[in-house]
Symmetry: none
Subunit: 212 residues, 4 copies
DNA sequence: CATGAATGAGCCTTCATTCAT
DNA sequence: CATGAATGAAGGCTCATTCAT
């Protein structure tokens, strides 16, 4: 059990609230006053418990990483399945994890802010969250292409699949504007995942054939 | 050169500098002082010429839109070509437009900030920049699928293609980290565009077959 | 014909507009920009024509005094009438001059501001506007009391009558709030004047009797 | 004495000083810096304790109302006395309350500014200070006229009496200029009150007779 | 371990005035 | 005689941090 769970309750509440606020506003837009107010803590509490806004943010990132690492297994679907099946499962899990109003609702938003407005914590995020997920997908795509596939081609397809998933989060606003009828309830997400998987599978296979 | 310039020289300088600064820092983080200093103008100049920081930002957005609308025709490739050919041309033009170290280096960054931290100007950006481009691609995909295609399927494929292009801009940092060998010189962009087009084409055709 | 009418038209417009704006906002709250805008003059025009906001205000006060001195005779009613009649006429003229939407609507407001937020021009205003009016009323009251009346008693009654007139201007807001049914159309003003005159006459006579 | 005080000492000092400064300059002309300096507080203290200049002003108004409400009973003279006696007592109490160099010297000035340059707080002032006083006088006048008196006539006389009292405050500067020999020591105030009461009584009675 | 009080640096805006043409 | 452009001083607000208890 890590340090952010030890100590008193105020500290924990602060951390939880900060995660939400940072997720909503990003590091620089987030206001210490806002966090303390929502956490029903004194304005000085941040400095007392964490040493400052900056360090609080670091703690939140660490927190997020731990939480996420616990959820990561969901993406690592049954290794015995066919690559095709695993691709579908991956996309499905990723989409649901990102878009369904699940537990750490703040989680993805936080990461998004970190990516578009990087702070010193970006490295941590990439190594602990992005890379593991990326590697999972990379392995699936690798299996689809077979051992003979050139790494940069595997990487390209991995990126293509990722991009199709990620866009529904990072550019949700715009996606909705361009296609207002698109829904995001579980059933619609399911269909979306299937389409992405099928679309990508076809693309991968086709290219696998013609380009050795 | 005296302090009192003819015409709107100061105003123009202010606009140019502001575009860069807003692109670097986003609206809220950008400092009026910074802009004025770089533009060698008085702190009150922003207020005098534009009426405030907010309106200056609006002006920059309008400026960006004008610049961009001039580049838009490049995406509208020869209508006589086959849809396949047009898809490739579109992706190529889009990628080059976004990634080549071309004209206004600040342009894309500005848009990125606007999308991740939307202001009131987002609507403008969407309607004048995003939608025209989106519609172009939508038309190409529509031609590929034929008249019988359901609109929401056309929209899905359009989004998938767009996402593959956009990710090389919005998440460049991460793409590079995950795949360090990826280059972005013209030759590499050319190859990237071909891959995206081919991958997408296969995906679209496959799905077109099985799903009516 | 005084200097504020000579010179060009811009200057005159500026003066006219400034009078209104100063009347509405008072000297310090009035904004040079506002005045110039309404007068369709350049922002620098005030400094050019008058030398600054301060001097413009002085000019306005002088203007007001001249205008007012021209209107003053209206208060100096027929000297042949009885004092009782003259009192009524005075009150009526004063009330109408203050409250009817007459020509220099800005005039009284300007004076009011000057009195509650005095500037260096207060002396001028008092000597040229307040005192002449006061003296008129003082003379009427003196005639009512007869030659034997002590000056401080004449002064007291003068003040009492004046106060009853002035309050309908200086505290209009409050008067209306305390007595919402009170109207201020010409007929109501007429009645008001009669009441004030009758009330005051009775007071003066009663006191004249008992206090020698 | 350290910079960190217990309780709301700074807040109290700020309030007291602000009352004076607002009374002297009015809301808009008063400078936050000035207030903080005189109160030996930091410029941000206003924001910390009150939330801004505006709210500080509100607090001052409330403060003034509290102070004043404590003094209000002095005006509500013995109900058993005759109306004539009560009128005299009322005028006397009002004049002394306004003009004697009593408690909060800033109080009346503050109200004056509020009336001539109304802010959102005017309503509060009217309802808590003006109306109670007005109602007191209205009742006295009503008793003098008897039950048969029309409300608008009672209101008129009330206004006339009030105006005679108030002018010695709102237009003190001018009153003195017009009648330099007038004194305002307790004895003179006493005489003034008697004159106003007697004058008004005569006016009221006379009109009561002739106008039903 | 925790808090209410206070601070100061930084920022945007307003506004009368000045400059050069 | 007149103006568009530019300026600087001053004001108020935000916000993370620090102090004393």
């Amino acid at each position: 059990m890590s340090h952010y769970l030890t100590g008193n309750e105020t500290r924990a509440r602060l951390l939880e609230v900060a995660a939400e606020v940072f997720a909503e506003q990003g590091f620089r837009h987030a206001k210490a006053q806002d966090i303390c107010q929502r956490a029903q803590a004194n304005l000085a509490a941040i400095n007392y418990h964490f040493g400052g806004k900056e360090q609080l943010y670091q703690a939140v990132i660490h927190y997020a990483i731990e939480v996420d690492e616990a959820l990561l297994p969901h993406l690592a679907v049954d290794a015995a399945s066919s690559p095709e099946e695993r691709l579908l499962q991956f996309v499905k899990a990723f989409l649901f994890g990102m878009l369904s109003p699940g537990r750490p609702a703040w989680h993805s938003k936080l990461m998004l802010h970190e990516v578009s407005n990087p702070t010193a914590a970006l490295d941590l995020v990439i190594e602990h969250l992005v890379r593991p997920i990326h590697d999972l997908l990379y392995a699936i795509v690798g299996d689809l292409l077979g051992v003979k596939a050139a790494p940069n081609r595997v990487a390209f397809f991995t990126t293509s699949v990722m991009s199709q998933c990620v866009i529904y989060h990072s550019s949700m606003e715009i996606v909705v504007r361009m296609n207002p009828s698109q829904q995001f309830d579980p059933a619609a997400l399911e269909q979306l995942a299937e389409r992405i998987a099928r679309f990508s599978l076809a693309g991968i296979r086709h290219c696998a054939d013609i380009e050795v």
